[in-house]
Amino acid sequence: MTSILAIVFGAIFINNFVLSRFLGICPFLGVSKKVETSLGMGMAVTFVMGMASLVTWLLEHYILEEFNLQYLRTIVYILVIAALVQFVELVIRKVSPVLYQALGIFLPLITTNCAVLGVALLNVQLEYNLLESVVFGIAAAIGFTLALVIMAGIRERLELVFIPKAMRGVPIALIVAGILSIAFMGFQGMM
């Protein structure tokens, strides 16, 4: 039980995927203009990461290891992630056309989001069991969502204040991201 808690806490705060491991930066800057959109993106990524952890663990232990095919790991994992993302896209398009339009190109781009492949590969590297893998995947996605929502909250506030012309848009966003990352470094000493 303690190890599960440690995994959850570690994945969300100490080794936050976006702010400490620097994985999944593209949607972090791309979909963090509004809190609502970033929450939607976070939920989509949470589903994909959780399911990807589950499916890739099963494939790794029951197919790849069985037939000594570990060298196919990367391509098999990408296949799994791509299929999951396609499924999520179908569902969101049906359930929430507004969110579908707001996410735009970033929805299919979850496929190439290195955070998702990162979780799957880290699960193997850290030798987690099935439960730990799924928990790690979901916790990492929650950490990703947390980073996105914090960023979106700050950027919504930034719309209302005066910013020097040269700093508007991407430059200020990058500076904010850097400061956020430094803030999350404060968690490193906790464990």
Binding site: L79, F87, K94
Partner: protein
């Protein structure tokens, strides 16, 4: 050595493909085929002269009967006639004359 790899990857691809095909049917969004047809004859410049955000929104409105057939200003009478043909209506005379 290569055979299990091919079977494994091909098999996984096949399974995922079948599941996705099933999901695609289950979650199919019904889109009026006229929208795509109308959009294909529009200039596609997303100029906004029709009063809609872009050609896609204009195509949706025309297909729903909310926007006039001759609403696409850059497209002139030619596009208006093509849209009217797709929708099975006629271009109103007053609107074609000057555009």
């Amino acid at each position: 050595m290569i055979l299990p790899a091919v079977i494994c990857l091909g098999g996984l691809g096949l399974i995922f493909g079948c599941l996705l095909a099933y999901a695609a049917q289950k979650f199919a969004v019904e889109v009026d085929p006229k929208i795509a047809e109308v959009q294909s004859v529009l200039p596609g410049a997303n100029c906004g002269a029709c009063g809609y955000a872009g050609c896609e929104q204009f195509a949706k409105a025309v297909a729903a009967g909310e926007a006039p057939v001759a609403g696409c200003k850059p497209g002139r009478a030619k596009v208006a006639a093509q849209i009217a043909e797709i929708l099975g209506t006629e271009v109103p005379k007053a609107e074609t004359g000057k555009k």
